[in-house]
């Protein structure tokens, strides 16, 4: 499946950008950019997505390297947890009022 924003007509490949805003937090997807190689992708990502100290670390990933679930199979692919609300702590209501539980 082609990645949105990636096409043979683009002269440079597409990169997805992830920024860690602070130590102790995950890298979060912030956007994408086109760049000829990984070195320039990382530099462009810094200039484009961290002009106001938004991050302490940047990842760039070639968009073509990402495998995604099929958007058309949305329902079927994610239906396993449906009806399994016993997986949530809030399902167990009999212990209400008991402390530290």
């Amino acid at each position: 499946m082609t990645t949105p924003g990636d096409s043979a007509a683009e002269i440079w490949p597409l990169w997805e950008v992830f920024v860690r805003s602070n130590r102790g937090l995950s890298h979060v997807h912030v956007g994408s950019l086109h760049a000829p190689d990984e070195t320039l992708a990382v530099r462009n990502a810094r200039d484009l997505y961290t002009r106001r100290s938004e991050g302490v670390s940047v990842w760039v990933v070639p968009a073509a390297a990402i495998t995604t679930s099929d958007p058309d199979a949305k329902g079927a692919f994610f239906e396993s947890p449906a009806g399994k609300n016993y997986r949530h702590a809030s399902y167990y209501s009999k212990s209400e009022g008991v402390k530290h539980l």
Partner: protein, 327 residues
Amino acid sequence: MTSTITPDTSATAVISVEEQQFNDLIEADSRIEPRDWMPEGYRKSLVRQISQHAHSEIIGMQPESNWITRAPSLKRKAILIAKVQDEAGHGLYLYSAAQTLGATRDDMTDALIAGKARYSSIFNYPTPSWADMGSIGWLVDGAAICNQVPLCRASYGPYGRAMVRICKEESFHQRQGFEILLELMAGTEEQRQMAQDSVNRWYWPALMMFGPPDDDSPNSAQSMAWKIKRHSNDELRQRFVNMLVPQAAVLGVTLPDPDLHFNEETQQWDLGEIDWTEFHEVLAGRGPNNAQRLQRRRDAHEDGQWVREAAAAYARKQSERSEKAAS
């Protein structure tokens, strides 16, 4: 042929499952993402709007970069450089969003430099005085924010997300512009005159940034039905003027509209007639600086050709080298 057992499918037959899903997402105020099915008109409309918006940011660098070398202090120069760099960044966020819809960067750039694509008509006005850096921030970026805040909720995910980033950064642009005017208004008589003269020149073009009046805005209704656009042109323009009047009072400048008055009944500021002939003239390419803006953009693109080629050649070399090392 019998008609006795034919179920009534006439209402649903015209709409596909994908289209129904799309309509449901729009109805539920959810977001459309790049891999989702979408009507061709929706895609086209977004590409047009987002690329025009991106072009506006890129062309919008020019009237201000005009003053970088002549900023009155090192502080103002640093601020102006940061602002122009932001505009470049905003253009890139938006080009990326348009690219997720299948538009290519090359096609968009070519359309712009060939004069086939539109950008905001405001950037075709000249910036003859330093006070114009103040007016652009206060009035032009102010109008842009008014337009763009509702776009953060646009139904197309990548566009909305780009707008969230842009709006955060635009508020610095507006405030620094207001401050430039505030300082000029606290200065000499000449400086106050310069500020007022600049506001006089930018006020009406800024109001035109919201687009033609509602009864003359052909794409608006469909855009609103698709929840790309959330408010009408006139509604946003009115909201903007209501905010400007008290701000102008703080600055001590007058807004150049003799008919501007407070309407007790609606609790809004009624404005005078806008000269739409001027708007259409500038849009048609006959504004004061259209030719110059496009020429400069074209030159920059052509002058940058060797940089793009060198970067591509370097990337090719690097990947060949790493392939060799792996084999």
